[in-house]
């Protein structure tokens, strides 16, 4: 198949059109269409991963053609070991997300259309190898998310949605600034496709493109031009990750978003920020990224996120807010590992993106189940749910152990790799990061104890156990947590060769 990536990206768009043309009352039919429209990309992405040759060099499944010739914009997509697992994860989470949304009854038509449009944006970003295309997909993704939170969210949905929108927009603007600057510098060099990401990466990392045509001697206010661009991109992506102190949109967005949207937000959208850091900041600006001061700042920010996120999570009383802060903490590992530029650190960071995508998505589904039944999420307001909902408790326990990084679960491998990899460079920071491991275990198991264990809270004596639909959304994720924990090579075999090629940039 020559156009596999395009098919993966744009199939959901067919779903959008189909749903658009359906009558407003045909809710089940629309849900089914959405399920099909997300299932096809999942199958295709599975095929993609299967066909991907990890030993191959560079991007694969490339499609390239002129789009806006006047600006040198291309339709240029391709994947490597960094993006493939994330594309697969996003198609899976969107598919499961449709089932998790089955009970949403308000404006099903608009909801499903936005959800499918969101998938187009997400997969587009992961595939795009053209900056213009990348930016377009990035913005496509932003809008549906705004409406999904702002319309289908909880009581403070408008506040949360606007906060999310403005924050992300601020990031986008910085990113756009970076893209335009690089574009101008590239056109000055006579490049005919000045948005081509692989080409730009090569030009910048080889030192040919340094912005000296734009600013005097490539220096602006005492900083090299490239460093400015690096910082613009970094802040743009850091907001999306989110990295402390740009993180406060996340808990609000999570708390207000409906369950499936939280799942996608935590599972995939946060990874877009990390992906951007790895793909653009590190791969395109290796010299800047590996400057000791910059790398150390990155590692430090990672450590702060890990420890600070865990401490703040422990103080939360809202179950969903707690999981949201645990995401902040877990994303810190990505930054810490990536800042070390060792094989173990970078691979751990890339793997952490995937493993957190499964475990946090699972936890948000878990929270969704309890919220559906009790209509509140106060951790102290439950107690002893294991008495009445053993299966639900079992799945939750798996998810929680996955989140706290228990060996035999995928989170352990990625966190261990990050610790080992970053220890080689930042022994003190890596040693301090284990505080986060302890605190994470503490607040997760403490939550398990308060919500599920102990004597049954009589208010919930009729609490129904998880039903088939809910199990259908949760069990695949629990299985993945276990699978890649027991046999991490299945995942790392795809990731590591790409990481090695990134590391060659520093050699």
């Amino acid at each position: 198949m020559d156009h596999l990536l395009s098919l993966i990206v744009f199939t959901p768009l067919v779903g959008v059109l189909a749903v658009m043309m359906m009558p407003r009352d045909a809710k089940d039919a629309m849900r089914t269409v959405a399920a099909v429209a997300t299932f096809v990309p999942l199958v295709l992405a599975t095929w993609l991963w299967w066909q991907y040759d990890p030993s191959g060099v560079g991007y694969q499944f490339i499609e390239q053609g002129s789009w806006i010739a006047a600006l040198g914009v291309e339709y240029h997509v391709g994947v490597d070991g960094l993006s493939i697992p994330l594309i697969w994860l996003s198609t899976l989470l969107l598919f499961l997300g449709v089932f998790a949304s089955w009970k949403i009854d308000k404006g099903v038509k608009g909801y499903m259309m936005l959800l499918l449009l969101l998938e187009v944006g997400i997969n587009g970003v992961f595939c795009a190898l053209d900056f213009f295309l990348f930016y377009v997909f990035w913005e496509i993704m932003l809008l549906p998310m705004y409406f999904l939170i702002g319309v289908w969210g909880g009581p403070r949905r408008e506040y949360a949605a606007i906060k999310f929108f403005l924050y992300t927009l601020a990031g986008s603007v910085l990113m756009l600034l970076g893209i335009v600057a690089v574009y101008l510098a590239a056109t000055d060099l006579g490049v005919t496709t000045p948005f081509n990401i692989p080409l730009l990466s090569e030009l910048i990392s080889s030192g040919q493109l340094d912005g000296s045509s734009l600013v005097n001697e490539g220096t602006l206010l005492g900083w090299p031009f490239l460093k400015w661009i690096f910082v613009f991109f970094f802040i743009g992506f850091a907001i999306k990750v989110p990295i402390v102190p740009f993180h406060t949109w996340l808990p609000d967005a999570h708390v207000e978003a409906p369950t499936p949207i939280s799942v996608i937000l935590a599972g995939i959208l946060l990874k877009l920020g990390c992906y951007g850091i790895l793909r653009i900041n590190i791969q395109m600006f290796p010299q800047v990224a590996s400057e000791p001061a910059i790398a150390y700042t990155g590692a430090m920010l990672g450590l702060i996120a890990i420890v600070y996120g865990a401490f703040v999570a422990m103080a939360q009383t809202d179950f969903k807010r707690l999981v949201a802060y645990s995401s902040v903490s877990h994303m810190g590992y990505v930054l810490l590992g990536a800042s070390a530029f060792t094989a173990a650190g970078l691979s751990g960071a890339a793997m952490q993106m995937f493993t957190h995508g499964t475990s946090s998505a699972l936890l948000f589904l878990v929270v969704g189940v309890v919220y559906d039944r009790a209509h509140h999420r106060e951790i102290e307001g439950f107690g002893g749910l294991a008495n009445v909902a053993p299966i639900y408790t079992g799945v939750t326990t798996v998810g929680m152990f996955a989140a706290l990084g228990l060996p035999s679960m995928s989170g352990f491998v990625s966190e261990a790799l990050v610790i080992i990899g970053s220890w080689q460079v930042y022994p003190v920071l890596a040693s301090l990061a284990v505080i986060g491991i302890v605190i994470t275990a503490a607040f997760i198991l403490w939550t398990l104890q308060r919500v599920f264990l102990g004597p049954l809270n009589e208010k919930y004596k009729d609490f129904p156990d998880a039903d088939r639909r809910e199990l259908f959304t949760m069990i695949p994720l629990a299985f993945l947590c276990l699978l890649f924990g027991v046999a991490p090579a299945l995942l790392l075999n795809t990731i590591v060769p790409t990481i090695e090629s990134i590391r060659n940039l520093f050699a």
Binding site: Y308, V312, T342, Q424, L492
Partner: protein, 697 residues
């Protein structure tokens, strides 16, 4: 000598480890639907493991009979490329030596006894099938820990046994306390575990491998990773090695309930009693000791000294707390803690054989004691010894086996505990003789602990089984447990007698069966790091210490026994009066040295304060800043709006007004009449003329 094909041997070991896992999975998903709720299936699984492990024991220990025997699946190309990340490579395989084979047999035999016992003890429990699932899962993790061939896999199984322990301590999850105790156990262990993790990260830094064989080879050859390739270039190899060893040992501090991370073990007694016997007495808590044994060559003399110190403190502190408890399981829990201290002490002072031998013998008699206490609890439905008394006649089998195990634990000659404990004390004495001053502490603590051990054990026996019943109602309902519970007791009691057996009544270390099959590993000495335990002087000291140590232990046992007899059987001494006499000390010990208070009110309360403080900071300052930016933007927009409305628009309006007004004025003037213009011109000329005229004056 090769007794099995490599693949056969690997298959056997994998079966020993994985069959219980299969049992656990079947039990958790289908257990409730099986006849007898699947207890036979779980038991069959562990018996399969046990028979394979005993076969292995027979072949390796009895037939091969080579103290240096070891087998690694990696040597036969049978290993699993688990991780392959740049310079970080990890292949997982099976590593067996005599110690591992003995451990496999010990764990599976004790587990089998406990599975049978549980069929009686847990009979009719609401979650009967789940109990066996958890037990199977625990056995899987414990057995995996024993056969792992690298530190990372040891660590992984190490955490998994922790999960098994967590699930089983909190087995009665519908009650208030057990889940809290389970959480406490898991978290205390987590603290030790992350330090352990840092320890092996350091080990990888030093040697670039986590595989035991490779690690010890490189250690022996002094093949450190060059210092310039390492992050910690400021410290020399020996210091890092010591630091790494101590960090690794920190894992054992929590897992094996050593001071100061012992606080979880007494609380772990909230789990069902068979669990206490299996996990919190015989196997999991001993994993820390096993790990220290496994990593033995890795510890520098300084690290070993640290281990000895912690072990000595634990042995004494645990014993003192055992003296004052009334809960029968708590006494045994503190006793376990104290005995684990002895094992660490033994290993730390260089008694590799002594410490590990004590691990094996202790497992049998302590499991027997715990199951015996379970049998008593099953009968009287109370754990408080003040509710018991006189049970000897009603529960003859339980009493008999309990007494044998008590004698074994006290170290009465010819029973299992005697051989191992005596060796520990003798080695500790030798250490004191050799190094003097502070090095006397392990021996002194050990000797005093030995006296206390006998005292608290006979206090327990006398209060429970002898004298008159203190609670007539409970006594009336008491009855001997069914055969499914008493037969395992007898099996374990048999091991409590014979597990240490030697024909020589006063054996030196060399004559123990354990010594003949387990070899103290070559120490780190070969790497140029001096370890004094291989010197001739050390062997002399060991020889000198042997009989004095024996005499000291015998005196300690006798003293402990007769004092307990006087206090609790003959009542010729008044325990209450002595309690008063030791007022403050007794309060300190009875309150468990206030460890829990310090942790709860200090550490955990402080942590919560910190969390809430940071959460307020997050809400107030960081999010506050974000919201302030939002508000500020809105304010600026508002001001800009006003400015726009009143200043800019005002200016526009003013201009319009000005033009209008001005034009209104000028309209009056601009009449369009030529005569008017001329008139005004004349006026102007006159004014100008008057001005000029004025100016010329």
């Amino acid at each position: 000598m090769e007794l099995f094909e490599p693949t056969t041997l690997l298959g056997m070991v994998l079966a020993i480890v994985l069959v219980p896992l299969g049992g656990a999975l079947v039990q958790i998903f289908f257990g409730r639907k099986l006849p007898r709720r699947g207890d036979w299936l779980a038991t069959a699984c562990i018996l399969t493991s046990a028979s394979l492990a005993v076969t292995l024991f027979w072949r390796v220990i009895v037939q091969i009979d080579d103290p240096n025997w070891s087998w690694s699946s990696a040597d036969h190309g049978l290993s699993w490329h688990w991780l392959n990340v740049g310079e970080f490579q990890l292949t997982a395989g099976v590593y067996l030596d005599n110690l591992a084979v003995i451990m496999l047999a010990m764990v599976t035999i004790i587990a089998s006894c406990i599975f049978f016992f549980s069929q009686g003890y847990m009979h009719g429990d609401r979650y009967y099938s789940r109990f066996f699932a958890y037990l199977c899962y625990f056995c899987f993790a414990m057995l995996g820990l024993v056969v792992a061939d690298n530190i990372l896999f040891l660590f992984m199984f190490w955490e998994l046994v922790g999960v098994g322990s967590y699930l089983l301590i909190g087995f009665f999850f519908y009650e208030e306390d057990p889940p809290k105790c389970a959480l406490k156990a898991f978290m205390t262990n987590r603290v030790g575990d992350v330090l352990f993790m840092l320890g092996f990260v350091l080990a990888w830094q030093l040697f670039g491998t986590l595989n035991y064989t490779e690690l010890f080879e490189r250690l022996a050859a002094g093949a450190f990773v060059p210092i310039e390739d390492r992050a910690f270039s400021g410290l020399d190899n020996h210091t890092i090695l010591t630091l790494s060893g101590i960090l690794i040992f920190c894992g054992a501090i929590s897992k094996s309930a050593q001071v100061p991370l012992h606080v979880w073990l007494p609380d772990a007694m909230a789990g069902p009693t068979p669990v206490s016997a299996l996990i919190h007495a015989a196997t999991m808590v001993a994993a820390g000791v096993f790990m220290v044994g496994r990593m033995y060559p890795y510890f520098t003399p300084e690290a070993l000294g640290f281990i000895a110190g912690i072990g000595a403190i634990t042995a004494l502190v645990g014993a003192t707390m055992g003296l004052v408890m009334y809960d029968i399981k708590k006494v045994l829990a503190y006793s376990t803690m104290s005995q684990l201290g002895y094992m660490m002490l033994g290993l730390g002072v260089g008694g590799y054989i002594a410490g590990l031998f004590h691990l094996i013998t202790h497992a049998f008699f302590k499991a027997c004691l715990f199951l015996g206490s379970g049998s008593v609890i099953h009968a009287v439905h109370s754990q408080d010894m003040r509710d018991m008394g006189g049970l000897k006649k009603k529960m003859p089998f339980t009493y008999g086996t309990f007494l044998i195990a008590t004698l074994a634990l006290s170290g009465v000659p010819m029973l299992a505990g005697y051989y191992s404990k005596d060796q520990i004390i003798a080695t500790a004495l030798a250490w004191g003789l050799e190094y003097g001053t502070a090095a006397w502490i392990p021996f002194l603590f050990g000797a005093v602990g030995a006296f206390m051990t006998t005292f608290y054990m006979f206090r327990l026996v006398f209060m429970t089984f002898h004298g008159t019943p203190r609670n007539a109602e409970k006594f009336a309902h008491a009855h001997e447990s069914p055969a499914v519970m008493t037969i395992p007791l007898m099996v374990l009691a048999t091991f409590a007698i014979f597990a240490g057996v030697t024909l020589h009544p006063l054996p030196a270390t060399e004559e123990l069966w354990f010594n003949e099959i387990v070899q103290q590993p070559a120490s780190a000495a070969a790497s140029g790091l001096h370890l004094a335990h291989d010197t001739l002087a050390w062997h002399d000291a060991l020889h000198t210490a042997h009989y004095p140590a024996l005499i000291v232990s015998l005196i300690a046992i006798a003293l402990g026994f007769f004092m307990a007899r006087a206090f609790y059987l003959k009542k010729s001494a008044d325990a209450e009066a002595w309690k008063k006499r030791f007022g403050p000390v007794h309060t300190l010990v009875a309150n468990k040295y206030y460890f829990d208070e310090v942790y709860n009110d200090g550490l955990i309360a402080g942590l919560h304060k910190l969390n809430h403080g940071l959460a307020r900071f997050d809400r107030g300052v960081i999010d506050g800043a974000v919201n302030s930016v939002g508000l500020l933007t809105r304010f600026v927009a508002f001001v800009a709006g006003l400015f726009d409305k009143y200043v800019i628009d005002g200016l526009v309006n003013f201009w319009r007004w000005f033009v209008q007004t001005a034009s209104a004025v000028f309209r009056v003037v601009q009449t369009g009449n030529a005569r008017d213009y001329l008139t005004w011109t004349l006026v102007g000329v006159l004014i100008l003329a008057a001005y000029l005229a004025n100016g010329t004056n």
